[in-house]
């Protein structure tokens, strides 16, 4: 359980995290979403005491992280893949880290095996790829068998196999009753992994809700109908509660009616339907709607981080 109360961090005149309050519960995977510069990483660093809050407080299991008698057992943290001396081998890094808590070579070998690093464990970290660095960071986070995991962009740089592995790992850990907080820029990945989402924008909490609830609250469900007699269907369905958009000569998008209602209306008028599809909003749509005003570094109209493939992602 992580509880943040009015957590604030300012760097000079710039406020990175602004009066943020939230609770991350055990047994769930909680996703931290937000544009670059929204304050996700800073918030994560404050949870484990690496950054000192300007105001407010954050506790892990009811007390400040620095008061823990076994910090590595309390929280396992992956902050960024570069939090490791490049001149040391993966094995030595984990051994030195574990030694602080009396964790020995047996457990070090366990986490190396678990993260698939056996073949490179004795090599110097400086030569690791981004993906291997991430695996080592996850191994370090798991070292103390922690009740809480904080993973900042864990799938960054991983191959597709690794992405699936991280997803299964965090879902498994949450199912065991652990608290899991992770951030990701991959919206489709987050939709598949997280149970609960906290959206940050410009250092504030924009939304804090279960994934399904967030999607339904922040997006509009619609129905797509394709018919050679699209114009006739549109006439049939007209009512003050219904919005009909004509996508092309044969395609309509209808908001305010279920697909069943549209189908029945067409059937009773004897109109042929070539397609009738309920369209659900995705987490990505919800996220875009929520953060539309809070994007710190905006690209042009086309945002390359959105991939059309993700549009239909739903849980």
């Amino acid at each position: 359980m992580i509880e943040a109360r009015s957590l604030t961090k300012t760097y000079g005149a710039k406020t990175a995290v602004d009066q943020v309050s939230f609770t991350v519960r055990p047994g769930l995977v909680t996703g931290f979403l937000g544009p670059n510069g929204a304050g996700k990483s800073t918030t994560m660093r404050m949870i484990v005491g690496l950054d000192r809050p300007t105001a407010g407080s954050v506790t892990v299991n009811g007390k400040a992280y620095r008061e823990s008698h076994a910090p590595l057992h309390e929280v396992g943290v992956l902050l960024d893949a570069k939090a490791i001396h490049s001149g040391r081998s993966a094995y030595s890094h984990l051994l030195a880290l574990g030694a602080t808590h009396g964790i020995g070579a047996t457990r070090v070998r366990e986490v190396i095996e678990m993260t698939g690093l056996e073949s490179v464990a004795k090599k110097r970290v400086g030569g690791f790829s981004l993906g291997m660095g991430q695996r080592l960071g996850i191994a370090a986070a798991m070292l103390g068998d922690p009740g809480t995991l904080i993973l900042d962009e864990p799938v960054n740089g991983l191959d597709p196999e690794g992405v699936v592995w991280v997803r299964e790992l965090v879902r498994y850990l949450a199912a065991e009753g652990r608290t899991v907080l992770l951030s990701s820029h991959l919206m489709s990945e987050m939709a598949l992994t997280a149970d609960h989402i906290i959206v940050l924008g410009k250092g504030r909490v924009l939304a804090d809700a279960p994934v399904a609830e967030m999607v339904s609250a922040s997006t509009v469900s619609s129905v797509r109908a394709v018919s050679p007699q699209a114009a006739e269907i549109a006439r049939l369905l007209v009512s003050p509660d219904v919005t009909i958009t004509s996508v092309d000569a044969q395609t309509l998008e209808i908001v305010g009616l279920t697909s069943a209602a549209v189908g029945e209306a067409a059937a009773s008028a004897g109109i042929v339907l070539h397609e009738l599809t309920p369209l659900k909003g995705s987490l990505e749509d919800a996220y875009m709607n929520l953060t539309a005003d809070a994007v710190e570094y905006r690209t042009g109209a086309f945002d390359p981080s959105t991939t059309p493939m993700n549009q239909e992602a739903s849980r």
Partner: protein
């Protein structure tokens, strides 16, 4: 690397035994120190320098090339440890660089965030690092100094200058010289902890040893000369070599004063700053 279904091994033994401890933090720093190539190389260089410079200086002196004409070898006080003290002047530079690297390397690579995440109170990391570095540097330095004495003593004996390792005129300076090297290394580590940068730390630590004394010597005033006496380099020499200004224990106290100032500053900053 294969991605398989997450097999999370968590043995029951961990939950109960896993606990932050002083011994554990010391062991962690020992693992960190010995698992870097730069450390191993630096200590090897210290050993080689100490022995090679000792041999060189004693050979040249015994060969009379380094002596003013008309003086006899036996006229030179402390000749028995001349080889040792000459080597220390060079070894101190390597020790200082290593002292800075031990802490600045953690900042430059980001390792410090892993270290502080494991030990969120932070200062135990600094103390443990200093203790481990002091002990290891003392041991390595003393081994180098001892070897350099042992290989130069026969050369001197051949020239009629005999000394006894276990006499206080010999063993005390040898132990003191190793103590000086370990302390100057720890001071450099304190400077590195304040500046958090390898380049800045090395410049400051070597500057304090080599440049600052020269600057004060250039100022023609009594107070300026006294300041030079109090700087770590000359104070440190007084720990193991006869000094006109301080007794060895006074020199040791002043040296410890420098270390307390450096580490006091470093500790305050380390607690305050974001990692």
């Amino acid at each position: 690397m294969t991605a398989t279904t997450p097999a999370v091994h968590h043995s029951a033994q961990h939950a109960s035994n896993v606990r932050l401890s002083t011994v554990g933090i010391l062991r962690s720093e020992w693992i960190k120190l010995r698992s870097l190539r730069s450390t191993v190389w630096a200590y090897a260089v210290i050993l080689v320098l100490q022995i090679a410079i000792g041999l060189l200086v004693i050979s040249v002196t015994v060969g009379r090339d380094g002596l003013p004409s008309g003086t006899s070898l036996t006229d030179i006080p402390g000749l028995g440890i001349l080889g040792v003290t000459a080597g220390v002047l060079f070894a101190q530079l390597v020790v200082s660089v290593l002292g800075v690297l031990v802490i600045s390397g953690e900042y430059s690579t980001g390792q410090i965030r892993s270290s502080f995440a494991a030990v969120p109170k932070r200062l135990p990391v600094l103390w443990a690092k200093a203790v481990v570095f002091f002990v290891v540097t003392y041991v390595v330095s003393f081994i180098g100094i001892l070897i350099s004495y042992l290989v130069t003593a026969p050369i001197l004996a051949g020239a009629g200058v005999s000394s006894n390792l276990f006499s206080s005129e010999v063993i005390v300076p040898l132990l003191g010289a190793a103590l000086y090297l370990a302390l100057i290394g720890v001071l450099a580590m304190g400077i590195g902890a304040i500046l958090r940068s390898t380049a800045g730390g090395i410049a400051a630590a070597l500057g304090l040893l080599l440049v600052v004394p020269v600057i004060f010597q250039l100022i023609p005033a009594d107070w300026s000369a006294s300041i030079v006496d109090w700087l770590p380099g000359s104070v440190g020499r007084a720990i193991y070599d006869a000094s006109a200004v301080f007794d060895w224990w006074q020199a040791l106290l002043i040296m410890l004063g420098w270390i307390v100032i450096a580490f006091g500053t470093a500790a305050v900053l380390m607690r305050r700053r974001d990692a």
